[in-house]
């Protein structure tokens, strides 16, 4: 099918640019356009100069791979759709609409200003032009539809994550008010909507003006939306002359607004088009799991000044779109503690701009230290409220690394000696005794003494599996019982295993997340030495925190060990038939994903497989899997007291679980979860309604041991 009327020369089927413009008009347009591009370029240069003042980052490796990954994320819009599908789809409409219109405008510029005048090559006509018109017409429609939904969402749906309520400031403080963001959000939507609408008005007015020209009118349905609008204009009596005038004014209005939009991109929310892509490109997939090391010779540790931030983290700050997903996911923000990852990032962004922008734009180079009580500075209580649970990093659609930033800032506080006295005491205990309980090293394996068999000492005889027990499972009386049961399960399944006895120390995961890097290094080195001194095939651990640091962080200290969490081992043993269950449990349970097993190391399936194998009736909580809600223990918070009168994250979780009708057991797979949730079960008032159990305890029960134990006790 020939879409061009044979009577027409395809060369003539196009849109005449600057049609009927006087020279001064065309020149004026180029002056405005070049000015806009210059303002844009200055803004981009200024922001890049800001990032360049940051510290180095290891992100430059594998640039090609990073670029492709970024393209995949951006064009699939996967990260924007997560946990907010309607907003994600609307964003996709805006994104693809905008991208197509941008490409379209670039093609016109290419044809008219570059290949045409330089090479005499013009291609924007004929059937290419017609298909081009059709695509851009729909792109404009998509853009408007997406924007209108976003307006509906902001104006009527009003999701709480968009209300900018700050948990880290009181309403009477100068930087509490973020109403200028709200103005910017609306200005952004309105500007784009008006640009898109005036584009259609412009196209329709042109059609009315030139409706007598078959080169225009015959091909009108290649721009269906504009054509419908043109009929409407005609219907209300717009004449060809009227169309000409309307086209002229709308042309200038549309053109100047669009160019002004381009000019302000690097200074406004629109900047995320560039920074989000950059941020996604340099994202470290293990940002929270493997924290940055500190060079031995480093004089200064952690982030004190803006310029101590890595350039990538400075770029991260500018990538934030204030979407509020982190704010919604954060356990601290949820219960009203003075931290919201969103507000932390936005404060730091404002602070970085205030200190790094040129004086012309209000920069003040005397402001460099990000810590403190001042406007947009970060307070210690904000940093200490973080549980490093990674909920924010997980959900951030633009790849912001909140957790490493927070830990880097904490490192500075630790070097300054500024921290909670309880936490100081714990760190000193760990320094002196290698465990957070302040117990004598010799007592580490005492829990094993009550067993009716000996656990091998992997330092003295080779074993298949080395069990890294961890502090809580070794010293906490409640968790010691779980450890004993796990030892029995392993024995029953015929696993050849051993422990390091008093050679094991706190693995350091949480010490590192507190920000005490020196102590972490010592613990990692001591454990690596002990592990190297033992003979084993692989490591198994009942502690997700130890699991994370040995798996992801010890390699930075030159030690690569094969390690797995107990859940994957038990899952395998069950599948192999090495563990079978004479007793079927039929409790209604829910399962809490520990942060360090689930989000950190993607261990979502094995615990659920075990739960199913035991015959349990698993009902998921609303926040599960990668959206699991932290128990509040992480990042060393278990060693500090939570403020009185504020709901604890663990209590918040208990309320969530209690909504499950007929819930009998709240299943966890982490010793710290046992401690946190058994406590919260009581304080939240659910004692007697359901119980908290380690998955190990349920496996043990299904093996039929509990009954035998009871019988033995009865006989005795």
């Amino acid at each position: 099918m020939n879409i061009i009327n044979p009577a027409h020369d395809p060369q003539d089927v196009t849109r005449t640019l600057f049609q009927d413009f006087s020279t001064w008009m065309t020149v004026s347009f180029y002056v405005v356009a070049i000015t806009a591009i210059a303002v844009f370029a200055y803004g981009v240069w200024m922001q890049i100069a800001k990032y360049r003042r940051g510290a180095p980052d290891r992100g430059w490796k594998m640039l090609g791979h990073r670029f492709m990954t970024m393209l995949k994320e951006v064009f699939s819009q996967r990260t924007v759709r997560r946990r907010d599908k309607p907003a994600g789809h609307a964003h996709a409409l805006i994104f693809f609409g905008f991208v197509l219109l941008f490409i379209g405008t670039s093609i016109i510029t290419l044809d008219y200003d570059i290949t045409g005048p330089l090479l005499g090559l013009n291609f924007w006509h004929g059937s290419f032009y017609l298909w081009f018109s059709l695509v851009l017409d729909f792109a404009g429609l998509a853009l408007i539809a997406g924007l209108l939904f976003m307006m509906y969402r902001r104006g009527w749906l009003r999701p709480p994550k968009l209300d900018y309520a700050r948990p880290d400031r009181n309403p009477d403080e100068p930087d509490y008010n973020r109403s200028q963001y709200r103005i910017e959000d609306w200005a952004f939507l309105w500007t784009l909507v008006i640009i898109a609408l005036t584009g259609f008005v412009l196209a329709a007015a042109r059609m009315v003006w030139l409706h007598a020209d078959p080169l225009v009118w015959d091909y009108r349905w290649w721009s269906p939306v504009a054509t419908v609008l043109a009929y409407a204009f005609k219907g209300v009596g717009l004449t060809a002359d009227g169309g000409e005038i309307l086209r002229l004014y709308t042309w200038w209005f549309h053109g100047i607004l669009a160019l002004a939009f381009i000019a302000v991109i690097p200074y406004t929310k629109a900047m995320h088009m560039l920074t989000a892509a950059g941020s996604l490109m340099f994202r470290d997939p293990l940002a929270a799991q493997r924290l940055p090391t500190v060079p031995e010779e480093a004089v200064q540790v952690g982030y004190e000044k803006v310029t101590d931030f890595s350039w990538k983290h400075l770029l991260n700050l500018d990538a934030c779109t204030k979407c509020g997903r982190c704010h919604e996911a954060c356990p601290a923000a949820t219960v009203g503690l003075p931290l919201s990852p969103r507000d932390l990032v936005l404060s730091l962004r404002e602070f970085a701009n205030e200190s790094q922008w040129p004086k012309l734009l209000g920069g003040d180079p005397s402001k460099q230290v990000v810590h403190g009580d001042g406007v947009n500075q970060i307070r210690p209580e904000t940093l200490w409220a973080c549980r490093t649970c990674m909920a924010c990093v997980e959900i951030c659609p633009v790849g912001i690394e909140h957790v490493p930033m927070i830990v880097q800032m904490r490192r500075h506080l630790v070097e300054e000696g500024e921290m909670d006295p309880l936490l100081q005491g714990t760190l000193q205990n760990i320094q002196k005794k290698g465990n957070s309980f302040g117990e004598n090293k010799r007592k580490r394996a005492r829990w094993a003494k009550d067993l009716d068999f000996e656990i091998k000492d992997a330092r003295k005889e080779p074993v298949d599996m080395l069990w890294f027990v961890g502090d809580y499972a070794s010293f906490d009386p409640r968790n010691q019982k779980v450890s004993q049961r796990f030892a029995r399960i392993l024995t029953e399944a015929g696993v050849d295993f051993g422990i390091l006895h008093d050679g094991e120390q706190n693995a350091g995961n949480d010490v590192r997340r507190v920000g005490e890097e020196g102590l972490y290094e010592m613990l990692a080195e001591n454990n690596i030495e002990a592990l190297n001194g033992a003979s084993f095939q692989s490591i198994i651990t009942t502690d997700p925190h130890s699991y994370n640091t040995i798996r992801n962080e010890y390699p930075d200290f030159g030690a690569r060990f094969a390690i797995e969490h107990y859940s994957s081992l038990l899952d395998r043993l069950i599948a192999q038939g090495r563990l079978s269950f004479p007793k079927t449990l039929n409790y209604r349970v829910t399962y809490h994903d520990p942060c360090h097993l689930g989000r950190f190391n993607r261990g979502f399936d094995a615990p659920r497989n075990i739960i199913r194998a035991l015959g349990l009736d698993l009902v998921e909580m609303q926040r599960s899997g990668d959206n699991s809600f932290c128990c509040g223990a992480g990042g060393g918070r278990i060693w500090q007291a939570d403020p009185v009168g504020v709901e604890k994250p663990s209590e918040n979780r208990m309320h969530e679980a209690a909504q499950i009708e007929g819930l009998e057991v709240f299943v966890v797979a982490c010793p710290k979860d046992v401690t946190m949730f058994e406590d919260a079960l009581k304080t939240a008032g659910y004692e007697g309604r359901f119980v908290v159990k380690e998955l190990i305890e349920l496996v043990y029960e299904a093996l039929g041991h509990e009954k035998r134990e009871r019988e033995a006790a009865d006989v005795a």
Binding site: E415, G417, K432, N440, E516, G518, L519
Partner: protein, 264 residues
């Protein structure tokens, strides 16, 4: 301006321990060593004054003890003290607090500080007398158990609060230079990071002998002391019982105990 802060490396006991063969102390195998808790506060007080002052303030920490006491000094250096002095001689074994104060007085005379902040007591021996004896040797005024201090660098007087019995506080003023013994809770001591402690190795730490201070072996040790430990021992435990169970069970058990005690 100088502030001298005498500190002590104390022994912290394990839950289970054994006594030394001569019965006069705990077997060193059964304790860890650490900076005396009170000294965390006296060092912090000196550092706060240093940090608040616009003029130069030198904070010098001093201890009397063997090599391993360097660890406690380094912790103070890591927190921000400027330099450290350690005095040791084998003759110092068996010294009581009076003999230690005699040594510290010589160090103070050598350094001529503007103020001396000591901890109120040590957590292991708990005599609460070293700081006070030091003031006596120097013939300086002193105030003990100071829980709040108002002192500006270079001032000739300091205003302080002292803790008295029954929750009473005494506010007083004292002529400087003076010796203050600092009570827990006067401030919030900072943490010494492990990295900081390692880096503190580059700070000045002088080792002095008795000779350097113009003292002889007879001024210290058992000879120079006014008191002597005869023995340490664990007293016989009293009877205590934790009553568990339901309220009814607890009441029943309590009633039975009362009856037993009354011989019924």
């Amino acid at each position: 301006m100088k502030i001298l802060v005498p500190i002590k490396q104390v022994a912290t006991l394990d839950e289970d321990f054994e006594l030394r063969d001569d019965g006069r102390d705990v077997d060193p195998d059964y304790f860890d060593k650490d900076l005396n808790e009170w000294d965390e506060y006296s060092v912090e007080e000196a550092l706060l004054i240093k940090e608040a002052s616009s003029s130069d303030v030198e904070v010098i920490v001093v201890t009397v003890g063997p090599d391993d006491a360097d660890e406690a000094l380094r912790k103070c250096l890591a927190k921000g003290a400027d330099r450290a002095v350690r005095v040791w001689d084998d003759a110092l074994e068996e010294s009581d607090s009076l003999a230690i104060a005699r040594v510290l007085a010589r160090v103070a005379e050598k350094e001529s500080p503007d103020m001396v902040f000591a901890g109120t007591q040590s957590s292991d021996a708990a005599y609460s007398s070293t700081g006070v004896a030091l003031a006596a040797f120097l013939d300086w005024p002193h105030a003990a158990v100071v829980s709040k201090l108002d002192y500006a660098v270079g001032a000739d007087k300091a205003v302080f609060h002292r803790e008295l019995e029954g929750g009473l506080l005494e506010e007083g003023e004292i002529q400087c230079p003076c010796v203050l013994t600092i009570q827990l809770g006067i401030n919030a001591p900072r943490y010494a990071s492990l990295r900081g402690i390692k880096q503190a190795k580059s700070k000045q730490l002088d080792e002095l002998s008795l000779d350097d201070l113009g003292l002889s072996a007879s001024d210290v040790g058992a000879q120079g002391s006014a008191s002597r430990v005869r023995r340490v021992f664990v007293p016989e435990k009293g009877q205590a019982e934790l009553i568990g169970g339901t309220a009814a069970e607890q009441a029943e058990r309590l009633a039975r105990i009362i009856k037993e005690m009354r011989g019924m």
